[in-house]
């Protein structure tokens, strides 16, 4: 049991009647790893986390956390959880909420003070009822309750939702420290840049199916840019095709996907044409993954 990975699923599936929420998920997340779980809304990320926590029963397959079956309660003192839709008791204060949830975990809230300070939740704010909190403050409180007892395994569903950039940075630092302490972090997101920044490995889920699992470096190398060029006069789009994949083209406008390595050469070539406007942007998460793993 000591050698079992913190998260292991084999053929995990969940169906609601005829609707398949998750299908045949087999995954290992290793100890000390920050693992990103990516996918568009409705892909099955939250369903997977709820299955891992034993909140819902699988229609097939099995999952273990910290070497024990998902529905066991034995491992839960070592797990911190942030739900995707964070909800609290409106009349309780932030401090009462944290105290109650730490008492339920049965472990001292050794990281609470540090987390509150770094995420910017002051004592005066904690004394107020949660119903007076903004969405961002609720998210901060959610992060503190998930991590305050220094969990061995943190399951965080969309952790930076509603956080401003400064607090997001503080959160990334916290994740790095948890990793340095040997904790395992399982983080679901639909923000590619966030996952690239903090994760060691990523898995992509699409329509309930695991599309791919890989390390972030591979993903980064494969990542393409979407280039849209508008011209002041007619050009021949076929002359640009060898730089990447043409998505759409006309004599006055070209839209294409180009690997990062090809971007300088393409820009140089475009400079020789009657260029009127140029937009270079990251592709959507799904485009990036599907392009690489198709």
């Amino acid at each position: 049991m000591a050698d079992a990975p913190p998260i292991r699923t084999r053929g995990l599936a969940k169906r609601y009647g005829r609707v398949v929420a998750l299908e045949d998920l087999s995954l290992d997340v290793e100890a000390g790893e920050v693992f990103g779980f990516l996918g568009p809304n409705g892909a099955g990320k939250t369903t997977t986390i709820r299955l891992l926590l034993g909140l819902i029963r699988p229609s097939g397959g099995e999952a273990t956390l910290l070497g024990r079956p998902a529905r066991s309660v034995a491992w839960r003192a070592d797990v911190g959880f942030l739900p995707g839709d964070m909800a609290f008791w409106p009349r309780l204060s932030g401090a009462e909420t944290l105290e109650f949830l730490a008492a339920l975990a049965g472990r001292p809230a050794s990281l609470r003070g540090s987390l509150l300070e770094r995420l910017g939740l002051a004592a005066a704010e904690l004394a107020r009822p949660v119903r007076t909190y903004s969405d961002g403050m609720k998210q901060k409180l959610g992060l503190v309750q998930a991590l305050q007892c220094a969990p061995r395994l943190a399951l965080l569903d969309e952790p930076t939702k509603g956080l401003d950039p400064l607090v997001q940075q503080a959160f990334y630092d916290i994740i790095a420290e948890l990793k340095a302490r040997g904790s395992t972090v399982f983080l679901s997101s639909h923000v590619l840049s966030e996952v690239e920044r903090v994760c060691d490995r990523v898995a992509m889920l699409r329509a309930g199916k695991l599309v791919s699992v890989g390390d972030v470096e591979t993903l980064r190398r494969a990542e393409q840019r979407r280039v849209t060029a508008d011209f002041g006069a007619d050009v021949d789009p076929a002359g640009l095709a060898h730089f990447g994949q043409l998505v759409s083209s006309s004599p006055r406008r070209v839209e294409m996907l180009v690997s990062q390595a090809q971007v300088p050469a393409l820009v140089a070539r475009l400079g020789m044409l009657p260029l009127a406007d140029l937009v270079i942007e990251r592709p959507t998460l799904e485009e990036a993954f599907l392009e690489h793993y198709r």
Binding site: L53, R76, F81, A87, F88, L104, G106
Partner: protein, 265 residues
């Protein structure tokens, strides 16, 4: 963990508990004042003799017992105001403890911690019976306050302790049914509607079966059939009634434990 959850439920519901308890105590105290007035006893007696049997059935009173001061105080334990005050707790706490947490979205952060599902049901039960004890105790204390030092012939506060106990049993078993409903529901609103409906249906069935001979045989199906304060005053708590309340509560709780342990949250 049951203790932590129990204190959590108390924190969420302690505010309404205070006015409910004060209202019950005040009402039962007023009943002792009313019963002390000979003119009121006479008026009540005459009114009851003139009343149609359907009205007497609604009060669930033995008319001969009721016209005495002792009986009038007993009416205080079957009055709709008192039943509604008790029912508020018996519906509110079970509905909020399980279905309410699911509907609000807070069940996930509770259930993701080392808390067995059975502990959640047990904590809901504990909060239910603790509150009912406070409320039934407050009602009896109201009677006690009205009678202590100023006894009415044939009536001391101690006569009403088993009556308050019977009321506690009635709502503890109804609340256990509420816990079962809550263990199956996804939102507090649905649990409140079903539990209130079952309690109201049980009350109406008991009343209808008393005034309509054709359905008299259905009366044992109502929990209110086993709650008869005037009989408790004269003969004490009937063992059969206690067994029925206990059996209903035990079956409902066993089903609630089983259902809540297996369900998706």
């Amino acid at each position: 963990m049951i203790g932590v959850l129990f204190r959590h439920h108390v924190r969420l519901h302690r505010v309404p508990l205070v006015p409910l308890a004060l209202g019950l105590a005040l009402f039962e105290w007023i009943m002792t004042v009313v019963a002390r007035e000979p003119s009121i006893s006479r008026f009540v007696g005459e009114a009851l003799r003139a009343a149609p049997p359907q009205f007497l059935a609604l009060l669930n009173q033995d008319i001969l017992a009721t016209v005495s001061p002792r009986g009038i105080i007993g009416v205080g334990y079957t009055h709709p105001f008192v039943l509604i005050m008790m029912a508020v707790w018996a519906v509110r706490v079970p509905s909020a403890a399980l279905a309410g947490e699911i509907g609000r979205g807070t069940m996930d952060i509770i259930a993701a911690r080392p808390v067995a599902r059975s502990a959640q049901v047990a904590a809901a039960l504990l909060a239910l019976v603790a509150g009912l004890t406070v409320l039934a105790g407050a009602a009896w204390l109201g009677t006690f306050a009205g009678l202590v030092g100023r006894p009415i012939e044939g009536a001391t506060a101690w006569h009403y302790l088993p009556v308050a106990g019977a009321m506690w049993l009635l709502f503890a078993s109804a609340g256990a049914v509420g816990i079962l409903v809550s263990a199956l529901a996804r939102e507090a609103g649905a649990a409140i509607a079903w539990t209130s409906g079952l309690m109201a249906g049980s009350y109406v069935l008991d009343y209808a079966a008393r005034v309509w001979p054709r359905i008299a045989s259905l009366r044992p199906l109502s929990l209110f059939r086993y709650y008869e304060p005037q009989q408790v005053l004269t003969a004490g708590l009937a063992r059969e009634d206690v067994i029925v309340f206990a059996a209903v509560a035990a079956i409902a709780l066993a089903l609630a434990f089983a259902a809540f342990s297996r369900r998706d949250l």
